[in-house]
């Protein structure tokens, strides 16, 4: 993958995936993150298909749609597991996601043994409530809005380096909250005002994503800086 750092939900999710011959393959319906030995989150695959897309329609509607989908395809062994495109096959990410291989026979679910590394979906993490000690400047209603991916020095892999948190208000995907220059002024100013409480929290020992309790805990020593600026 290219680019030193980018925000996964803003720059990767829902992008068009194109194969090595320029033909369209699918959309990035969700992103697979693998929990490393030190607890770090590493993007390892693009998740594809209705089992990946439907849960992103919101907690309640998404769960209902996923159940319905599983009921319709009851005979299929993999009816709830999405197809995976391994992240190593991704050559470049810009306005489309280019793969290094042709598309024929590419999509299949991951054949994991249960003792393997723990994997989570980005879509499952987005929207988790964030709790922090007062004095951090985090808004009380803060949720996880996005994760920032940074290339690790040794080469191709990326790792989740920071969390974008803020009150979950509309317009986070428009991108105005991340950059100060683009207009048009009326729309941009409104979105920036809505997201004035958004912050970037650096990933570290003080930041815990508790997937059991479905909450992100930000400890007193965590680094918090404004999103814009």
């Amino acid at each position: 993958m290219t680019g030193p750092a980018y925000d996964a939900a803003l720059h990767l999710l829902d992008r068009q995936v194109v194969d090595s011959e320029g033909r369209m393959v699918c959309k990035v319906d969700d992103l697979e993150l693998t929990v490393g030995d030190g607890g770090e989150l590493v993007p390892t695959g693009l998740l594809v298909g209705l089992p990946a897309l439907l849960p992103r329609f919101g907690r309640r509607i998404g769960a209902e749609l996923t159940r319905t989908h599983a009921r319709i395809f009851e005979a299929q062994a993999h009816r709830t597991s999405p197809d995976v495109v391994d992240i190593d096959l991704v050559e470049e990410v810009d306005s489309e996601v280019r793969l290094s291989v042709p598309r024929a026979g590419l999509l299949r679910p991951r054949d994991d043994d249960p003792s393997g590394p723990e994997r989570v979906r980005l879509g499952d993490l987005l929207g988790l409530p964030v709790t922090a000690a007062p004095g951090h400047g985090l808004h009380r209603g803060s949720r996880l809005l996005d994760v920032r991916l940074v290339a690790v020095p040794d080469g191709r892999r990326h790792v989740v380096d920071a969390l974008v948190v803020g009150p979950g208000r509309p317009g986070a995907l428009l991108g105005y909250d991340r950059r100060s220059e683009p207009g048009p002024w009326l729309v941009a100013d409104l979105v920036r005002w809505l997201h004035r409480h958004a912050r970037v929290v650096g990933v570290g020992p003080e930041v815990v994503i508790d997937r059991e309790d479905r909450v992100v805990r930000v400890g007193p020593g965590a680094s918090v800086r404004p999103l814009l600026g």
Binding site: D14, Q16, R23, M24, V25, C26, D94, P182, W185, V187
Partner: protein, 408 residues
């Protein structure tokens, strides 16, 4: 030299391709009831479609992304889906109206009831979508559509009192209420700024593999072709205002749209205009049909487009077939295509903000467009039209109810 010929061809097809069944019917209806007093709406609509098409064409040329890619990327899967359903319904409704329009045009020639013609028209549309090259669909039908210039010739031949006609520009006829005036204003706006035009335009840019170098040609097509197409719309309204309005004839059939041309130019003129009806509606039927496939494929990410072999975009072609069968099925119930047209232009106005807003946002995004992102003028117009489009979308359905589709 070839470059100039390309620009000329693009402009001519943009003129011929601008008018569809919605423009034909709505402009004639408005002309017959309101004279030229709503021409200002056509002007606003044409500038609007220029702003919208130029932004989406620029995005397609620089980032190779078409409308529904951007809708999903910028609004997320859930809002994007709501958006997809709304836009698909309006596009399907327009598709039905266009196929019905082709059938009505053939009925004018053959006197065979349009319901009987519909299956053949639908089959022809599907075969063209399946087999014909993208550029031949656009060029052949666009150029044939130029025969609608007959309306301008007819208006000139009718020799109206130009001073009187000009005086009626700003004046609402006394017998019409403000509510119906506003309703037809919204309908005319929806007819000029039909959402599928932009789906088709931006997807067409990807089909024809536009690059940064093509932005100039694209702009010439938009800024010359669309306004001239808008002039044709005004000529249609003008003809109706001169011939039909004094007689108190309300436009309810496609034949009545052509009537002023028959009065002014006789049989030959009529024949040419009916050919224009056929080409314009058939071309628009292809464009709307393709647009249903474009929207769905762009949301879900599977291969679309006529630039690959049909078997490489099998899902896309299945959608085109299903949409065509569906449209034919609706028309076979005997529903009046003119009524479908009237409804489709109003809902076009309702659905417009759904796709306009994401395009405006991305047109400002340096990640997609780099140095080609919106400048000051584009943004001034862009935000201005965001307000206009939103207002007309909000007003459309209440006005439709209050005026009983413009009858009150």
């Amino acid at each position: 030299m070839k470059r100039y010929l390309n620009v000329l061809l693009g402009v001519l097809t943009a003129i011929g391709g601008f008018v569809d069944i919605g423009d034909l019917v709505t402009n004639a209806q408005v002309g017959a009831r309101f004279g030229l007093s709503l021409v200002w709406v056509v002007v606003i609509g044409v500038i609007g479609i220029c702003v919208f098409a130029e932004m989406s064409g620029r995005i397609a040329a620089v980032s190779h992304r078409a409308t529904f890619d951007l809708v999903r990327e910028r609004l997320g899967p859930r809002m994007g889906f709501v958006n997809l359903v709304g836009s698909m319904l309006v596009t399907l409704l327009t598709f039905i109206a266009e196929i019905g329009g082709v059938a009505l045009a053939l009925q004018l020639v053959t006197s065979v009831n349009h319901v009987l013609v519909v299956p053949f028209v639908a089959a022809a549309v599907w075969i063209v979508l399946w087999r014909a090259k993208f550029s031949s669909i656009e060029n052949v039908l666009g150029l044939l559509g130029l025969t609608l210039i007959g309306f301008a010739v007819a208006l000139w031949q009718l020799g109206p009192d130009w001073g009187e006609l000009a005086a009626s520009l700003g004046e609402k006829p006394a017998q019409e209420s403000w509510a119906t005036y506003a309703f037809f204003g919204v309908a005319l706006f929806g007819a000029a700024m039909t959402p599928y035009e932009v789906f088709f335009f931006s997807s067409g840019g990807v089909e024809e593999r536009w690059t940064r170098k093509d932005i100039g040609v694209m702009r010439a097509n938009v800024f010359i072709g669309f306004p001239l197409g808008g002039l044709l719309s005004v000529a249609i309204a003008g003809c109706a205002a001169v011939v039909l309005m004094p007689q108190g004839i309300a436009v309810e059939t496609l034949g009545q749209v052509a009537l002023p041309v028959a009065v002014a130019l006789g049989k030959v003129g009529l024949a040419i205009i009916v050919l224009g009806f056929f080409a314009a509606t058939f071309g628009a039927a292809c464009e709307t049909g393709l647009s249903t496939g474009y929207s769905l494929a762009q949301y879900f990410g599977f291969q679309w487009g006529k630039y690959v072999r049909p078997d490489e975009a099998a899902g896309f072609h299945v959608i085109l077939l299903v949409a065509t069968v569906l449209a034919a099925g609706v028309l076979l119930t005997g529903v009046d295509p003119i009524m479908v047209t009237e409804i489709s232009v109003v809902f076009s106005a309702v659905a417009l903000p759904l796709t306009y807003f994401p395009i405006l946002v991305v047109a400002n995004d340096p990640d997609y467009l780099g140095e080609h992102r919106n400048g000051r003028v584009a943004n001034l117009l862009g935000v201005g039209y965001l307000v206009v489009i939103t207002l007309s979308a909000i007003a459309a359905i209440p006005l439709m109810i209050v005026t009983s589709m413009g009858q009150g």
